[in-house]
Subunit: 332 residues, 4 copies
C-alpha cells in the first residue's frame, strides 16, 4: 500500500482518491486562457470528483518569448501574463469544502529550447519593483532559452545541467467574489511558485464558491527557493491532476501532503507574515486533527518545523511550513 492510500484525499474524498474519469484540456479545448482567478467566466470543463484532467499548459509568457534577442518589455503585455487553464467546475463543491488535487504528472511539450527565463524591469527579488519602488536603473533585459528534457534535465550551459524537477507554479480556486490576477498568490492558492507542488503531492485548496473553479498553469522545469529573479525555467507542459472533493473540510489556506510531510502554505508580505501564516495554520491543523495541544504544537514545531520559501518576487511572498509524518503521525 502506498502512502497515497492513507492520504487525507484517499480517506476523506468523495471519490476516495480514485481515478474515475479522464478528461483533456487541449489548447483547442481551452481556447482563451485566463489571467485572473475568479468565477466571472464560463468553466471550460465540468467534472465529478474522481476526474483526472490533463491540461496543455502554456509557459508564463504564453510562448511570446522565443529567442534570446527578444525584449520582454516589447513582447509582453501586462496584465495578460501567466495564462491559466480552466476553470474546471467540480460538481458538488460548495463554499466551506476542500478540493483535493493529486498531481499525477508533468510532461514538457513543444520544440526545444522550450525553457525560458528572463530578467525584466521592475520584477525580481534583487531589483527595484512596483512595490519596492526605488530610483536606481533596472538591470539590462535578459532572456535565456534553455533545453528542457525529462531525462537530461535543464541544460544551463556546457558545464551545468540541473535535474528536471517540474512543479505547478500557479494553481488554485476562485475567490468568492473577487477575480484576482494569476500573478498573485493568496489563501485560494494562485501564483505560489512553491516547488513542493510537484508530481506525487496532494494539494488541498479551499472551496470559496459553488463549483470551486479550479485553475492551473505556469509550470516550472526547475526553480530554486525564492524564484530569485522572478522567472523560473518556464515551459509548456501537459499536466495531469486527479481531482477529489472533501465535503465540509474548511481550510483557511492551501495545504499539501506527500509521502514525507504535511505542509501549510502562507502568502503575504512582509515575508515574516507569510511564515507566520503558514506556521499558525500548521499548528491549528495539528491541534484539530493530530491530537496536539496548540501550545505543545507550537513548542514542538520550534524544534522540528521545516520552512520552504516559494517565491520572494510575487505581489505576495509564499512560504510552506511542514512537519514530517514520522513525527506527527496520521491525522484522524
Amino acid at each position: 500500500m502506498s502512502w497515497f492510500d492513507k492520504s487525507i484525499m484517499a480517506r476523506k474524498g468523495v471519490a476516495k482518491g480514485a481515478a474515475l474519469s479522464r478528461h483533456e484540456i487541449t489548447e483547442e479545448v481551452q481556447g482563451k486562457y485566463h489571467y485572473v482567478y475568479g468565477a466571472y467566466v464560463e468553466p471550460v470543463l465540468t467534472v465529478d470528483p474522481g476526474a483526472v484532467v490533463s491540461s496543455e499548459t502554456h509557459d508564463a509568457f504564453e510562448g511570446a518569448i522565443t529567442s534570446e534577442t527578444d525584449k520582454p518589455t516589447e513582447k509582453l503585455n501586462f496584465p495578460y501574463l501567466n495564462p491559466q487553464n480552466g476553470p474546471i467546475y467540480v460538481n458538488g463543491a460548495e463554499k466551506g469544502d476542500c478540493l483535493a488535487v493529486y498531481i499525477e504528472s508533468i510532461v514538457p511539450r513543444g520544440p526545444q529550447p522550450r525553457g525560458t527565463t528572463v530578467i525584466m524591469p521592475e520584477f525580481g527579488g534583487l531589483v527595484p519593483t512596483a512595490d519596492t519602488a526605488l530610483l536606481t536603473a533596472p538591470l539590462p533585459e535578459t532572456v535565456r532559452k534553455v533545453e528542457v528534457d525529462v531525462e537530461t534535465g535543464v541544460k544551463w550551459n556546457d558545464r551545468i545541467s540541473l535535474p528536471y524537477e517540474p512543479f505547478i507554479g500557479t494553481i488554485g480556486t476562485a475567490p468568492e467574489i473577487e477575480a484576482i490576477s494569476s500573478l498573485v498568490p493568496d489563501y485560494y492558492g494562485g501564483n505560489m511558485d512553491l516547488p513542493d507542488v510537484a508530481p506525487g503531492a496532494v494539494v488541498y485548496l479551499p472551496v470559496n464558491t459553488k463549483g470551486a473553479y479550479l485553475y492551473l498553469g505556469d509550470c516550472h522545469a526547475a526553480q530554486g527557493d525564492g524564484e530569485l529573479c522572478g522567472v523560473a525555467i518556464e515551459h509548456p507542459t501537459v499536466t495531469t491532476v486527479r481531482i477529489d472533493l472533501i465535503k465540509g473540510w474548511t481550510i483557511a489556506a492551501p495545504r499539501l501532503e506527500n509521502d514525507r510531510f504535511f505542509m501549510t502554505i502562507g502568502s503575504s508580505r512582509p515575508m515574516e507574515d507569510a511564515a507566520r501564516g503558514a506556521y499558525r495554520e500548521l499548528i491549528r491543523w495539528m491541534a484539530a486533527d493530530f491530537g496536539f495541544d496548540e501550545i505543545d504544537a507550537y513548542m514542538l514545531l520550534t524544534q522540528c518545523g521545516r520552512v520552504r520559501l516559494g517565491n520572494m518576487v510575487d505581489p505576495k511572498y509564499t512560504i510552506g511550513a511542514s512537519v514530517l509524518k514520522s513525527i506527527v503521525g496520521e491525522p484522524r
Copy 2:
C-alpha cells in the same frame, strides 16, 4: 480666483473642472451595493465629464451594527463588507487616461447615533490578523456608537468631542481585468482610508478600462493617522463629487491636489514599501511636470517632503507623500 481654477483638473479636464450636469445615486437607484472594484457589473450611472454626482453612501457595515450590544462577528458577513456606490461609467474614459474627482461635500445622514466604530477579531493595527497571524487570543469584541453632527462633531464621551472632519475612505476605478475587494487599497485607489481625500480636494485616479468605472463609499466622520483599530467613525452620508476626465495623462497610482499641496499615494506592504511607492511617484511627477531633475527632487523632498499615514490595518497599508505648492510651484 480660487486655487481650484488653477488646479490640474480645471486646466486639463475635458470639462475644465466645470459642473455641467447633476445626478443622484440614492439607495433606491443604487439597489445592490458592491463589494469589489471591477468591471464585471453593469454601471449604475453613465455620465459625461463635468457631472456632479451625489451618492447615498452606507457605512462600512451597511448599517448592520445598530447597538453597542451587537457582536460584529454575528452581524457581519465577510466578504460582504465595505459596500460601494457605483460603478459610474464615464463617457470617453479609456485606459491611460486620468479621472479627476473633486470632492464637493460630505454630509452625514441617518438617525443618531449614526457613527460606529468596533473592535473585532483578526482585524486592526495592534492585534493579530489574517496576515500577521499569531496565536494570542483576540481582544474582546467591542462596539461604540457615537453621535455625529456637522456642527458639534463626534461626541466620544462627556468630556471629549472631536471635530467633524469627513472624508471618503474608499474611492477608485476598476482594474483592467481584476475585481478586487473593496477592503483593499491599491494603484487604482480603493480602501485607502486617507484623511486627505476630503471635501475641497481633487483626487486623480488612473483609468484602467473603458468607462473608468468609478466607485466610492466608506465615508468617515473622523479618523486618526493609521486608522489604528481598523475602524474609523463609520457613518452613512450623502457624498457629492464632481467628475472630470484628463485625456492622455497616465498615472501609476492615485494623486491628490488641494489648496496647499500635491500628493501621491502608495499602498503596499510592508509599510516602507508604501512610503517608497508614494515618494517615487512624487519625484517622477516633479520631474515630469514641475521642471525638476530627479536627483534634485529626491534631495529636496528629503528636506521638505511630508508623509501622511492613511491606514496601517488594511490588506495593504496606505501612505500619502506630499510637497507644498509654495515650494514646487504650479505644474506645466
Copy 3:
C-alpha cells in the same frame, strides 16, 4: 504661565524643570567625539539635575565634506560617522529612572555654506542598501552645500528657500551593557531623526545605567518626513538643553511633550513595527497616567492619533505617535 510649567518635567523633575547651573561642551572640552551610545567611555561632563548644557555639535560628517566636488565615499570613514557630544553623566540617575531633556535652542555655527546633504551609495530611502540589498547600480554620488541662516532659512536654490526648522537628529542615553552605533535609533533614543525633537520640546529618555550617559549630536537645519535620501540639511550648531531627572518613572522608549501634544517614539523594522511600538506605548501611557481604559484609548486614537515619520533610512525606522493635549488633558 507657559505650558512648560505644567509639563511632566516641571512637575516631576528633581529640579522641577528649573535651570540651576550652566555648562559648555566646546569642541575643545569634548575632544574626541563619539560614534557609539554606551557606557564604556569616561563622561565628558558630570552634572546635577537642573543643568543647562550648551554643546558645540559637529555635522553628521564631522565637517569632512566641504565642497560639492567631494566624494562621500572618499571623505567618510565608516563607522566613524555621526559624531556625538557627551556623554553627560547625570548624578542620581539610575536604571528605571527617566531623563527629561528640554531643548532650549539650536543655533547654527561655522562658515557658510554650512549646510550639507549628500547622496551616497547603499544609503537612502529609494536606493538599494546594506539591508535592502539589491543588484542595481547606485545613484551617482552627489553633494549639495547650502547656506543655512536662522533668519533667511535654508537656501536650496535661487527660487526655493526652506525655513530654518532645526532639531536634534540624534539624542539618547547609554544602553545598559551595549554600545551601539550612533547611526541607529532604538529604545534609548539615538539616531531617530524625528523633527519634533526641536527647540521647545521636552524629550523623555529611559535611564538604563547609573548616570544615564546622555549623548547628542547630528542637528538638522531642515528635514522632511522620512529623511528620504538619508541625509537632511546637516550642520554644526551650538545646541542648548536643560536636563532634569524623574526618579522612578520607567518608560520603555523615548517620549516627547510640547505645547500641543504628547508623543511616544518607536524605532523598528519593518515600518509597521515602528508604528505599532509607538502607538502601543501611547496607549499604555494613556492608561497609566491619563485615566483611560486601554481599549478606550485604542479606539479613541483610531479617531485622533497622529503619526510623524522620522526616518525611513536608518538601520531602524522611527515613527512618533501623538495625541493632542486638548483631547487627553493633563497626566496625573
Copy 4:
C-alpha cells in the same frame, strides 16, 4: 581526501586548516560569561591560527531554568541572557581578514533533563513582541524540560523523539566599535540560530577589529526552521572548534561551507531583507571566486538556490542562501 582538505579554510588559512594546538575554556577558565559582542573586555584566551578550542558552554539561560514549574520572567534577568564563551583573541587577525572556524564537535553536558525550551512573554514568532508590539495578552509562560542524549536524541514525549542534531546558535566576532547584545545576529555573526552552523561545517566570519575577538555559545540540541517559539532545545555543551585565519579575504557577512554547499548568511528585518542580503552576497561570491558573471549567477540561483530560515524570532531574522558544490564547483 575528505572535502575539508579542499575547503577554503584548508587552502587559504594561515594554518592550512590544521590543528596545531589545543585549548580548553572550562567554566572556571571562562569565569564571567559575556552578553555582548564587543572588544571592550579582556580576551579569555589568546591563540595562533590552528588552535583547537573546547569550550564549556552554558545554555541560553545560564542554567537558571531547572524545573517545569519555573517562571522565566522570575528566573531571567534581561539583558543578561544568552551567555557567551570567549572572547578568543586570534593573533595576526586584522580588520579586513576572515576568521575560519571549523566546528569539530558538540557534546552535551550536565545532568538530565538537560534540554530546556520555554514560552515567555513578548518573545517568539507567533506572539506579540517588543518589535511587533500588540495589545493582546501573552500566551501562558511555559517551561519544557527534556532529556537530551547523543544516541537517543531529544525525548519530546513518550511518543516523539527527535534526533540529536546540535549546532552553535550564537557565534561571531566583535564589531569594530560597537558592543552588541548576544541576542542579536548581524554581519559579524552573533545570534543567527541557523542549524547549518553544525559539526562538520566551516563558518567564515569577518574580522572587524585586531584580534577578531571570537565568541560562541547558545548551543541547540535540535531546532526547526525559524526557531518558532523563540527557544530551541537549549542545552549546555562542550563545543570544540578549530580556528584559522585567512588574511586579506574581506567578506561582508558570515559564510559557511560544508561537504555539500556554499552558503552566505543574511540577518535583517523584514525577512525579505535577510533573504536579499544572503542572496546578494552569494551572487557576489560566485562572481568574485567562481567565475560567474553577476547576471548569470542571479539567473542560475533563480533555478537552484536554496534558502534556510534560521530564526524568525530574534531582533533580526536570519536566512542562509546556498548553492550546491556540485553545481558551482570549487572557488579559485
